[in-house]
Every structure is written in C-alpha cells, then in structure tokens.
C-alpha cells in the first residue's frame, strides 16, 4: 500500500511520523484524509527515527513542520502535538486500544483546525 502526498515540493506541512506496520499505515491514511478535508498539506516520514516515546516522536515531528504541528502513529498510540507544548502534554492522545479509523480521521481534522484556529470536532 502506498501513501500519496499532495504537498508542493519542498514544503513541509503537518509532519506525520508512521511506524511501518500496515495497521499504523491505515490509521495514518485516515489522518491524512482528515487533513485533506480541511485543506492542509502534509509530509509523511516513515523511517529514520528512534524513540520509544510516541509523545516525543510527535513533538519531533512538530518541530520539523512549518506549522509547528506534528502527528505520530506508533504501535502504542496516535498523538497530535504542537512544538511549543511540554513533551508529556500533547494536544490530543489516543491510545491504541481506543483508536479506530474514525477517530484517526477526526484527529487529522483537529490537527488542521489547530492550525486554522477553529473549534475542535469531538473525538
């Protein structure tokens, strides 16, 4: 399965770290659909990172993004983070046993709304 990204070349939108497993990939795809619904560009990074902590990875992702917003889909959780927040205090955190595709999409929508400064959808 391949994930197609739509951002203009060289532009680093919302950065999404994905740990390479098909379940994570599927959730990441829903997150991207959520972002697309709200019209936000994104960048996928699926290797070259080493950290067991999902929150930390999400923050690293946020620091790479021009919007200062990053997402991490790991084996443990899906996390939405903003660069200037404390590492252990992400904007939204969905643990793996609670996560489903619908929630992943809502997280993508809320990531976009965080940037657009609009009220969140309820997850």
């Amino acid at each position: 399965m391949s994930i197609v990204s739509y951002e203009p070349p060289g532009f680093v939108g919302v950065v999404i770290y994905v740990e390479k497993r098909s379940e994570n990939m599927m959730q990441a795809r829903e997150v991207i659909y959520g972002l697309e619904e709200e019209g936000l560009p994104h960048t996928i990074i699926s290797d070259g990172f080493h950290d067991d902590n999902t929150n930390g990875l999400a923050q690293q992702a946020a620091n790479k993004s021009v919007f200062d917003v990053g997402i991490c889909c790991s084996d443990n959780a899906i996390v939405l983070h903003q660069g200037n927040l404390p590492k252990e205090n992400p904007v939204i955190q969905i643990s793996k046993n609670q996560a489903n595709l619908n929630k992943a999409r809502l997280l993508g929508i809320n990531a976009a709304r965080l940037i657009k400064r609009m009220p969140f959808e309820e997850i």
């Binding site: 927040l85 400064r117 969140f120």
Partner: protein, 348 residues
C-alpha cells in the same frame, strides 16, 4: 392585550410591536391593570404572575393588579416546521415585564415570623427607598438634592430627594432578569444560567493554546497551555480564570453587539421612563446628580451606557454608589437601615 388606566381601557394588539404597547402604557398613566385574553401567551403570563403573588399572601386574584408594564421588541430564531435541514427563520417578538401590586404588605408577616423564629426583636426600619437614599448619601461627594437609580434583578426604582427632604419615587418593571431572558432568546441558547454569565462577565476568543483575544482586541497570554477543546471558541471569562466555552458558533463581535444592544434597549428606555416620572415637568435637565445602586450598577457596561446617554442628552452627571467610601452599590439599603437606626431623630 388590554391596558386599563384610570378612565379608559385600551386594547393593544401585540403584533403592533413594543413601541405601541409602551406608548399606550404612557398614555394611560397611572396604569391600573393589564390583562390578556385567556388562551394567549400574554394572558397566561400576566395571570400567572398575579396568581403567584396571590398564593404568597393569600389574596384574591381580583385585588392584585398589574401596575407597570415594560415591552421590548426583539428577534428570536424559530425553527421552521417541516424544514428538512433544520432551518431557522428570524421572527420579531415582544418581550414583556410586568410589575404586580397588592394593597396588603408582606413585610408584617415576615417580621412576625422572623421574631418568632429567631427570638430577636425585629422591626420595620423604613421604606426601602428612603433607606437607599440614606445609604447613597454616604458616597463621598454626594449631597442633597440627589436622585438614585436602583437597578436590581426585577425592577428599576428611581427616587429623588430634594434639598428640603421631600422624597418622590417610582417602581418600574424590567431590569436584570429581563435582560438575561432577552439575551437567552436572541442567541437561542435555551440556557438561562449561561445567558446570565454572558450578561455579567466579559467574553474572549481563544486564538491559540497560549493566548486569547479580549473584547477590546487586546491579547492575554498564558504560561501553561489551555485545554485544546477551547481552541477557536468564544469563551466567557469568569472571575477565577475559569473559561466557559459557548456551545454554539456565535462570533465574538456578534455576542458583544447583542449584549450591548439589549442593555441599551432595556436600561436606557426604562431609566428615562423612571426619571421622567419623578422630575417636575418630566424635565431631566433639572436633575443635578444621579447615584446608581444595586446589582446592575456593578455590571461592566450598564453604568457606562446610562452615564453616557444621560450626559450627552440631558447633561446629567451619573456615578456608581460608593457606599461609605468603601462598599459596593449593593450595600446602600443595609447602610441606610443602620444609619436610620442610629440617628432615629434625624429626618432625611
């Protein structure tokens, strides 16, 4: 709806609007009674108020009269029946406040009961108006002659005290609670306590997790990030930094303008009406100074709105009560009672 004065009874159609109702009320002044046709909402409302008072002090319904009416025109969103997408249309409606009156005083019952329960001597110290005047006089810089405006939840009272000590007063319907109701219906909140918060506290918009935009456009920053659910929402700022998000998508500017418009509609109309009745020849320019008292005087906008309006149009100076130089305007009556108890002989 029927409005009866001393000699005539006028029939007013509610569809003709708030202005027509108010001009009829002014025409028949003093108002002796008002009633609606049974089965209509105005008829139900007026008879319900009368019945409540009748139940409290065991009086027959016939002896309870509506002594003042205040009508405000407003707009209420109404759901379109049969609409598929939940459409709303904006309808003109009239908000009504009424003041009911009875001959029998409730105070004597209260005094008897308090005496029996607390075993402490209880006496009626005087009328509220006189006590409020006495209390208002303790505001630094205030001297006779003066006028007080006592704006509470249910009524606006105005009283004047001239240099010889003569008191003139009037009680009119329509104040804080009516404002809450109108804010609630105009924004279609269906939540009275939220409308009350909107009325009292300033609003702001959460622009990011670290800052909010206040009503006047200035920014306020936070060290710790705010809750993500508040982002992008209009919130009400309560005293202890608590933020209450509005459930609906109401822009900040709209919220502020509706709140101000409602305050102007109710308070300016009613204050002018009250002051005209206590001043000679209905000439507001004869008033020297006005002291604002009670809860509504603590509001963030109402004193400003009244003061600006009266100064521009009539050249009257208005100020908020500063009882004994240190207490807020709600303390006027209590201070007045203590003063009158201590100086029994001194007449105001």
């Amino acid at each position: 709806m029927f409005i009866s004065g001393h000699k005539y009874t006028h029939e007013v159609d509610l569809v003709s609007g708030a202005e027509t109702i108010m001009s009829t009320v002014e025409k028949v002044e003093p108002l002796e009674d008002a009633y609606g046709e049974s089965g209509t909402s105005v008829g139900g409302m007026l008879s319900k108020i009368k019945k409540t008072l009748g139940d409290i002090n065991d009086q027959p319904l016939e002896s309870i009269k509506v002594r003042d009416l205040f009508a405000v025109g407003t707009i209420v969103p109404q759901k379109v029946k049969g609409g598929i997408a939940g459409e709303y249309s904006r309808n003109q409606v009239v908000g009504l406040a009424a003041m009911v009156w009875t001959d029998k005083s409730l105070m004597q019952d209260l005094v008897t009961k308090l005496r029996a329960e607390s075993k402490i001597p209880v006496n009626i110290g005087g009328t509220e108006v006189r006590m409020a005047l006495l209390g208002a006089l303790t505001t630094p810089g205030v001297e006779k002659p003066l006028v007080i405006l006592d704006m509470g939840a249910g009524s606006i009272d105005a009283a004047s005290l001239d240099s010889k000590g003569n008191v003139k007063f009037v009680h009119l319907a329509g104040a804080g609670d009516m404002l809450t109701m109108l804010i609630d219906s105009e924004l279609d909140l269906k939540d009275i306590s939220l409308a009350e918060d909107i009325k009292i506290f300033p609003a702001a918009k959460v622009e990011s997790l670290f800052h909010i935009k206040l009503e006047d456009g200035s920014l306020k920053f936070f060290k710790n990030p705010l809750n993500g659910n508040l982002l992008g929402r209009v919130v009400i700022l309560k005293e202890d930094q608590e933020m209450i998000p509005l459930p609906k998508d109401i822009p900040l500017e709209k919220l502020i303008s509706i709140r101000k418009d409602m305050k102007k509609k109710i308070f300016i109309n009613n204050v002018v009406r009250a002051l005209k009745r206590i001043t000679p020849n209905q000439n507001l320019r004869l008033i020297h100074e006005i002291v604002l008292l009670r809860g509504s005087a603590l509001d963030l906008e109402i004193p400003g709105i009244i003061s600006e309006f009266l100064l521009i149009n009539y050249g009257v100076i208005t100020g908020r009560g500063n009882i004994r130089g240190k207490l807020d305007p709600r303390n006027a009556v209590a201070t007045g009672l203590i003063l009158s108890f201590c100086q029994k002989d001194e007449e105001i």
